[in-house]
Symmetry: C2
Subunit: 239 residues, 2 copies
């Protein structure tokens, strides 16, 4: 029993049918969305459980006692948290279908490097543009644009970060393209400019046009309303 | 040529002999230290280049234009940054010797989960204990202890996080055990208490006793002096 070794995190193995897959998500969560894209890419059948936030279910708390957050993938009764960790797990477990990470070790490392760069640099500065005001917002806007331009360099000569088809970086970062357009509408700043970042702008459109990506995108209007609410809360709590 | 695809980061391939390995590090850098442990574990021959910080060398800036920071591994002329990404690359490239990550996908995912937990939770709160004063320091101390206790749960029934031998989590987190004792001496707080965290305390000692780990540890007194200087700078810049 694998569970035994890490029982601190995953104390309770859930009784499930062999190979059964459940995903605990939330319709407005980018991290849950990217796990869904990975599952769809692999053609994995799964049960999707939408959490009623902020009222977290006992099942979520049981499956992720360390962070108490979603998404959580439960496979064969064994729960797993952290979306990028889950995506690598999906790639290794259903390894015969549509590879998510490249096969070559150096290319794999570069994919991990860029996914981490987006997570550590592009996301926080974009959130800053969304949640700050005045000079702080201007500073974040400048930094976010610089980071996005750096990210764009990895697209040179490629349609997707994964090459001709979507891969790890696309799945990890793709939601940001959808969110950025919503952030831009809410705050009235053109963050990802087509003139200065033509490759990244085209990639956003190409990625969102991929059938399996498009079919799981949350409705734009609903997401806009949700994020307007988030912005009001963030500004209220910082003033 | 792999370099082509990501030339934004790695514009200049360095001319090197086939399979030549260089590591750009700094004697007091935990991130460089863990890459060295991984190379030693695999028995990889490498040239170690110690940077003269804060005067970064042109070679470092050429190899890591995105972050301009060390460590950087250069293998066959191809540079790679981000220590945990480098360690996975080392494991995949020299795959026949001493596996660093487990073979089973779920165990691999759990190793990545815990390495990330330590990085995201244990490290920042420990740095807080080291760099803050008064109430802020007390808050960080409480949080750091809670995070370390959570990390300890992954050691239940195991000598090392990797089992009977050291693995990914040990290599990723091991430096923290060495640094924590130095932090404790500098700030006069017993952070990792033997009574409340017996497994983690024993692990620190066991890990630091592993021959290949011990032989690359920076001298304690020199590291103490370096970190005393860091603390003074951090406190000065926050007041």
């Amino acid at each position: 029993m694998l569970m035994h070794s890490y029982e601190g995190v995953h104390q309770q193995e859930t009784k499930m049918a062999k190979n059964e897959v459940k995903l605990i998500g939330y319709w407005g969560s980018p991290a849950a969305l990217r796990v869904e894209w990975a599952l769809k890419l692999k053609g994995v059948e799964y049960e999707y459980i939408d959490e009623d936030l902020p009222n977290k279910s006992p099942f979520l708390l049981q499956c992720n006692p360390v962070y108490k957050k979603l998404p959580v993938l439960v496979h064969d009764g064994k729960p797993l948290a952290e979306s990028l960790v889950i995506i690598e797990y999906i790639d290794e477990t259903w390894s015969s279908e549509n590879p998510i990470l490249p096969q070559d070790p150096y290319e794999r490392a570069m994919a991990r490097f860029w996914a981490k760069f987006a997570e550590d640099k592009c996301v926080p500065t974009t959130v800053g543009v969304f949640s700050k005001l005045g000079e702080e917002q201007e500073k974040c806007t400048k930094e976010a644009r610089e980071n996005l331009k750096t990210l764009e360099t990895a697209l040179k000569g490629r349609k997707f970060f994964g090459g001709e088809t979507i891969g790890f970086v696309d799945i990890a970062v793709g939601w940001l393209g959808y969110w950025i357009r919503i952030v831009e509408e809410i705050v009235g700043i053109n963050l990802l400019e087509e003139e200065t970042m033509p490759l990244l702008s085209a990639w956003v459109q190409d990625f969102l046009d991929v059938a399996l990506v498009k079919e799981r995108l949350p409705p734009r209007d609903k997401l806009l309303q949700l994020n307007k609410g988030f912005r009001e809360q963030m500004i209220a709590s910082s003033t």
